[in-house]
């Protein structure tokens, strides 16, 4: 992961070079999507928040301090927007379940696409923090130290959580394989 490269592009965007935005998007899209998805757990909502994140980056680019950790800055924006969504959605949920009997895939928290079996299992059996750690580690290849920085947790907790989460997943998958057999 080239932090220097991302920093260069962010500086260019700050100076008004809109082509740099494409590069920033391609460098960070996987990390942003995986983090947002691990928080909101719905791919449709994750897509919307991803859009908001990149709009926010454009809007707040003047506030980016040159030479700092660009990845952490972008992921913090994504994380905060996701948490905001969850906060607002808590209130909406109560109304939705009272007034509508059917569930919309866009607003349904439990909705998972069929082509994401592992994510589905991870979502069901891991807690929020475990899910975020596993997704950030596997998809974006973040180091544990970087994950600790992004999620604002001690390194020891991240290592411990990651190990536990993987063991949990292995156990569940083994059980499913045995059941299928």
């Amino acid at each position: 992961m080239d932090k220097k490269l991302l920093d260069d592009y962010l500086i260019k965007l700050k100076k008004g070079d809109n082509n740099a935005f494409d590069a920033i998007y391609h460098l960070t899209k996987r990390g942003v999507f995986s983090l947002v998805l691990s928080i909101v757990k719905n791919p449709y909502v994750a897509e919307d928040i991803m859009q908001d994140t990149y709009l926010k980056i454009k809007e707040k680019i003047l506030y980016y301090k040159d030479g700092t950790n660009g990845y952490a800055w972008i992921l913090t924006i994504a994380r905060n927007l996701s948490l905001n969504y969850l906060n607002k959605n808590k209130k909406v949920d109560v109304l939705d379940t009272e007034e509508h009997e059917y569930l919309n895939p866009v607003t349904d928290k439990n909705f998972v696409k069929d082509d994401m079996p592992i994510f589905k299992i991870a979502k069901e059996h891991l807690n929020d923090f475990e899910l975020q750690v596993v997704v950030l580690y596997s998809v974006y290849g973040y180091k544990h130290r970087e994950i600790a920085e992004i999620l604002n947790k001690p390194l020891g907790s991240v290592l411990w959580t990651y190990n536990n989460a993987i063991k949990k997943l292995q156990k569940v998958l083994k059980k499913e394989e045995r059941d299928e057999a």
């Binding site: 999507f33 791919p43 990149y54 454009k58 905060n80 596993v134 580690y137 290592l159 083994k174």
Partner: protein, 476 residues
């Protein structure tokens, strides 16, 4: 499923579901750039918004007002108890051969005691004068100096034996004089009580001396700041002086070394810990695999057998289809498919026979795992060596910086002593010059007196002569 497989599968799922149209929808949107801090604008769940709860705000404000009034009454009282350190208002210098500066508060109690040379450092070693009245401290210092032999109890040979020079700097001039006189009396009484023959000299110091002293201790001051020092009050200058000296002492102590070590070694240790943890995790994975190796081997062998059975049944079906097929193109396709299946079957059969008959493959795979385990262990050892090497390099650097600082402090001390010596010499020289001038002037007056007398006499005789001539002329 192995750890690696779970992670790669999850990654694949995420990649497949990564939205494609986000960039297009965002790229051309015109956004007004602003400088509102992004973290302030976004409300994270950990941040409680006060604006949303009016009752809370009212309650909070009432509490705040009550607390503020309570603090207003209690704080001044508490301050005396908790923070007895008072403000420095005057400085008293005692110069025997050891040179000592005492910083005093408004009650003439010692706030800080500065040893200005090595003799003073040795003399004051282990003494604590803070909070004691200046008279008592002066007496103690003179007693210490007597014990150390700087002041002798023997019969004086000349006037300047056992001389003590006392200087004082104070905002209020009358207080300065009073302070000097009282200390002078204290020393005199001490001399009398202990039958010591000596002289006590008192001197008013100039503000410039204090400014120079502050300058010499704060060598990182800019030219403008140095200029500004002249406009500060003596009280303020004394405060800066005591602060700079405390800083210098603190930096000199081991705190500095510990701070430096933490600064240099912590990042290296953190980096090492991360690498170590990552390798440890990988090592654990391989070790688990090695521990379950025989079970996995058996499972794989069973899988191989199942695959062979499946391939054989598929080949049988294909043979039947070939026999029945009349279309030559389809026939050719089926034959190609059959050949492929037969090749797969052969390779699976070979693997099975290897697994069942020979232990060579079993051992080879097992050896690979052992090799991998050893590789990770070697990596761990190598990283540990690297870490220790880095720590050693950093320790050398810290030692260098401590040595450098020691040298700087020594230089400053020498400079300080030199400055004081120069200032004192200047003062004595000025006195000598004045005496020379006075003597020369008096001598000149003595030399010039007969000439003046003669001039007066001449003038009177000329005047008389002229008056006589004038009278004669009129009479004529």
């Amino acid at each position: 499923m192995k750890r690696k497989n779970i992670l790669s599968q999850l990654k694949l799922e995420m990649e497949d579901n990564l939205p494609n149209n986000v960039l297009d929808s965002v790229k051309n949107v015109k956004v007004k750039k602003d400088l509102t801090p992004v973290y302030e604008e976004i409300n994270s769940p950990g941040v409680v918004s006060l604006k949303t709860n009016a009752k809370f705000i009212t309650g909070f404000m009432v509490l705040a007002v009550l607390l503020f009034s309570f603090l207003l009454i209690i704080l001044p009282l508490l301050n005396k108890v908790i923070n007895p350190k008072s403000t420095i208002v005057s400085k008293l210098g005692i110069d025997i051969n050891p040179s000592i500066d005492l910083m005093l508060d408004e009650n003439d109690e010692v706030v800080l005691c500065l040893a200005k040379n090595k003799h003073a450092e040795i003399l004051l070693n282990g003494e604590n004068f803070v909070g004691k009245p200046v008279g008592e401290v002066t007496k103690q210092i003179i007693t210490l100096a007597t014990k150390a032999g700087y002041i002798t109890t023997e019969q004086a040979n000349d006037d300047i034996q056992n001389a003590v020079l006392i200087t004082a700097i104070c905002e209020d001039e009358s207080k300065q004089e009073n302070l000097l006189n009282s200390i002078k009396n204290e020393v005199k009484n001490f001399y009398m009580n202990n039958q010591i023959y000596g002289v006590v000299l008192t001197e008013f110091s100039s503000k410039q001396e204090l400014v120079d002293l502050v300058n010499s201790l704060n060598y990182d001051l800019s030219e403008t700041e140095k200029e500004e020092l002249k406009n500060y009050s003596v009280k303020k200058l004394n405060e800066i002086l005591s602060e700079s000296y405390t800083q210098l002492k603190r930096r000199f102590r081991s705190d500095f070394i510990i701070e430096e070590l933490n600064k240099c070694i912590n990042p290296i240790y953190e980096e090492y810990e991360n690498v170590k943890n990552e390798i440890d995790l990988k090592l654990k994975d391989v070790e688990t695999e090695f521990a379950n190796f025989e079970e996995i081997w058996q499972q794989d062998t069973e899988l191989c057998k199942q695959k062979i059975a499946m391939l054989e049944s598929e080949i049988a079906v294909l043979n039947e289809q070939i026999e029945e097929e009349e279309d030559p193109i389809m026939l050719a396709k089926l034959q190609i498919e059959l050949e492929k299946k037969q090749l797969f079957l052969l390779s699976e059969q070979k693997e099975l026979s290897d697994r069942e008959n020979g232990s060579a493959m079993f051992n080879a795979v097992k050896n690979d795992l052992v090799k991998e385990i050893n590789k990770f262990k070697e990596q761990l050892e190598q990283k540990e060596d690297e870490y220790l090497q880095k720590v050693e390099t950093e320790l050398v650097k810290v030692k260098d910086s401590v040595d450098k600082l020691d040298a700087q402090i020594e230089n400053k001390k020498d400079e300080l002593i030199k400055t004081y010596e120069v200032l004192f010499d200047k003062h004595l020289n000025a006195l000598d010059n004045y005496n020379d001038f006075y003597n020369n002037y008096t001598n000149w007056l003595v030399d010039v007196a007969p000439k003046t007398e003669q001039l007066e006499k001449d003038w009177n005789s000329y005047k008389e002569k002229w008056e006589t001539q004038f009278a004669n002329y009129i009479n004529f």
